[in-house]
């Protein structure tokens, strides 16, 4: 079920009313409703894959409880590896089987050896990368004795399958989300109102910004051979805003929806396109995944401690794995490598933690040097997204070569100028709101200091804008495929 679908518009109020009016007096019943609703939400896409979530839930619940009593290190390790192998095994099979098979065949044929192989027609279960990482973090934290394993199977199931963030995050940690399932939840007007505001902002990002940018990004990337340099630049910029609006929009809807049910999820995006360097960008982009890799891969590998070689190795490891997490395609790996190359100079010169606060804190406008740094980071990001969006490496390279030709100085060709301008105006408007609200959890939260009437007026106008300018093509969320 998509957030931007009619089904969800019926599903959400129904679950909300049942949750607060029918099951409000009993946490167990509320949690059971969440599990049932989440399975329904997921099963609406393909009920067969519910078995994977259920299996992962049971395995990690059992492993967690076994780890509670087991004190011998080898046995604890074995339990941990059981969880890792089961979870990553599913992920590996559904997401990477064909990729590895094809690459092995290609590698052997390069050396003149022909191998007969049949790739499988495998459907990638929606959100498998997200819930796999979420359950894995639980087992690893229990193993490291950072959290207590839960005895409450229903609460644990709800933690694994919580529908707002099940298919595209934020990837929650058990330490943050699981305890919230044990506590009594009372309806909080301010929290619910804030949730609705965030949902609305998420929808604006998705259906107005991302979906309208997607039309041009798709058109330009799919016909890149017919486009001149300036059109290709526009295509890359449109994709940059498409992916941001799409994914951060999803996160906002997920976080806002959770707040309607009394839950607090982690912030997943913090105005990343206002970053002054790549290190800051990665502290602001897909925060739940970046911190996951930091805590469960980068730090165990030694982090930034050790010699230059260790730093380089660990940096590449985290970025390459992050790229590969996004999809079984070399384009994602190159995208990851490119970001590692951007990041390394900052790390090696100890400048990777230079920009920790919000840009132009307490000021209306950034300084010239801040603006320059933001634009440079933005351009580097745009360039890297070309690999992320391209169909394959050849496509990306051709795209870049055509983009960097002399035709970059011509007017963009083969695109509808009027619609393009309207979309650019929306992107600029969006950036303006993001800039004004950059100190908040999400940009629209900036209106919370206004009077209630004024807030409702703004909400009404935003709803009107969504209705009048949404792209009715109803594009899927990009991150569903990951």
């Amino acid at each position: 079920m998509f957030f931007n679908s009619l089904e969800f518009a019926i599903f959400l109020p129904t679950v909300f009313l049942l949750y607060w009016f029918v099951f409000q007096k009993n946490i167990k019943l509320q949690n059971s409703l969440i599990v049932f609703a989440s399975y329904f939400f997921y099963g609406w896409w393909d009920w067969r894959f519910l078995s994977l979530i259920m299996f992962s839930t049971v395995i990690d619940y059992l492993v967690g409880n076994k780890l509670r009593t087991e004190q011998q290190k080898p046995k604890r390790k074995m339990l941990l590896w059981t969880s890792i192998i089961v979870n990553l095994g599913f992920l590996g099979f559904f997401k990477y089987y064909n990729f590895f098979l094809e690459n092995f065949v290609d590698a052997f044929s390069f050396f003149g050896m022909q191998i007969n192989s049949n790739s499988l027609n495998i459907i990638l279960p929606v959100g498998i990368s997200f819930y796999t990482f979420q359950t894995l973090s639980y087992t690893i934290d229990v193993y490291n004795k950072k959290i207590e394993p839960t005895k409450d199977f229903i609460a644990f199931s709800a933690f694994v399958c919580f529908f707002p963030q099940l298919v595209a995050g934020p990837i929650e940690r058990a330490a943050n989300l699981l305890p919230q399932f044990y506590k009594e939840r009372n309806f909080d007007y301010q929290k619910a109102f804030d949730g609705m505001r965030q949902i609305l902002w998420g929808f604006f990002k998705k259906v107005v910004i991302a979906d309208n940018c997607a039309v041009f990004a798709n058109q330009i990337f799919n016909n890149s051979f017919d486009m001149n340099g300036s059109a290709l630049v526009l295509g890359a910029i449109f994709f940059t805003f498409q992916i941001y609006g799409d994914f951060s929009g999803y996160s906002d809807i997920a976080i806002g929806t959770s707040r309607l049910f009394g839950f607090n999820l982690k912030q997943n995006f913090a105005t990343p396109y206002f970053s002054r360097d790549i290190a800051e960008f990665w502290r602001r982009w897909h925060i739940s995944l970046s911190t996951w890799f930091r805590d469960y891969l980068y730090i165990p590998l030694g982090g930034s401690r050790g010699g230059t070689w260790i730093k380089v190795r660990n940096t590449f490891a985290i970025f390459l794995v992050s790229g590969f997490w996004h999809g079984a395609n070399w384009t994602f790996i190159v995208w990851g490598a490119l970001n590692a190359i951007y990041f390394l100079p900052l790390l090696l010169t100890n400048n990777n933690r230079k920009n920790l606060g919000v840009v132009a804190q307490g000021r209306l406008l950034p300084s010239f040097s801040e603006l320059f740094a933001m634009l440079t980071t933005f351009m580097l990001t745009v360039f890297a997204w070309i690999f992320f969006r391209a169909n394959n490496i050849d496509h990306a390279i051709n795209y870049i070569f055509s983009m960097l030709s002399l035709s970059i100085f011509e007017m963009p060709n083969n695109i509808e100028i009027r619609q393009t301008l309207i979309t650019i105006i929306f992107v600029l408007f969006f950036l303006l709101i993001e800039w004004v609200g950059r100190n908040n959890q999400y940009a629209l939260q900036v209106i919370k200091s206004k009077s209630t009437l004024m807030q409702y007026l703004i909400i009404y106008v935003l709803l009107l804008v969504i209705m009048l300018f949404m792209n009715t093509g109803q594009q899927e969320f990009i991150y569903f495929q990951f």
Binding site: F187, Y189, Q219, Y456, Y460, L464, M467
Partner: protein, 302 residues
Amino acid sequence: MKKFILETSIVIILICVSGFFLYQLDAPSQLANRINTIDSKLEMINLGSSHGNNFDYSNCVLNGERINKEGNTLYYDLQNYIYLNKKKYLSKNAIVIIPVSYYVFGLDENRTDRSPDDSFVNDYYHYLPEEQIFSYSEKKKSSLMIFTIQKNFYNLIESVNIIKKKKSTNLSLKEHANSRVINHKRLAGYSSKQKNIDYLESLIKEIYKNKHLPILVTTPYHSSYNNNFGKKWLDENYFNFIKYLKERYNLSYFDYSHDVRFCFNDNYFYNSDHLNNKGKSVFSSIIFDDIEEVLLSQKIIQ
């Protein structure tokens, strides 16, 4: 809780009322409107794209109607004909004029080249049965209301945008032709030519099967438009296909594309490939006379 539900409901109701207001401004699409108001058997129709607007039936002795749509594709020409025939809107021996444009063999069914405006097919959701709509989608159908609201809003905005309107009519025929031909050449190579020829053949066969008379027409174009294509391009992308169809189906074909009565006369053109009202009137009387000759020669009329 009650406060939250009440406030949320008020905002939702307000936005629904605003949407409903804009929806009410809807003027039904011209083609759907024309089809829905057919009240007597049609003796002559023309299909086609905006070039089909060149036909003026006001002084025609036969009961005629334009069944064309701006930017139309051969797939929907076929579907429109099937629909009219199924609804018994056509008289016995009805004449079906099929105006064909230079680029028509390169279009895809639903005009996906028009992205981001994928509203081309919306009109057809208003009257064609779902099996006749290419890539029919329930989601698309459910979004038609939003489309209508958005379209009406754009129309409302454009109605006060005087500067833009003036600018669009200020282009000279030559300037118009220059930009138009680039786009039309692109369209001619957008999709499979064979697929479109198949649709046209199906249409011709269907017309013959129902004992109606198909007539293929290329409407007049200004010389500046023709010159920008060049003879070689036109033969390879257009006239060779027409020749093949004409010979294979023994079709009546009228080619006014280079007709000297029109192509050098600026007074007849609204832009480089469309006639103005004066041109339409002259062209219609000429083509109806030419069709009459065909009917006489084939002894369909005495």
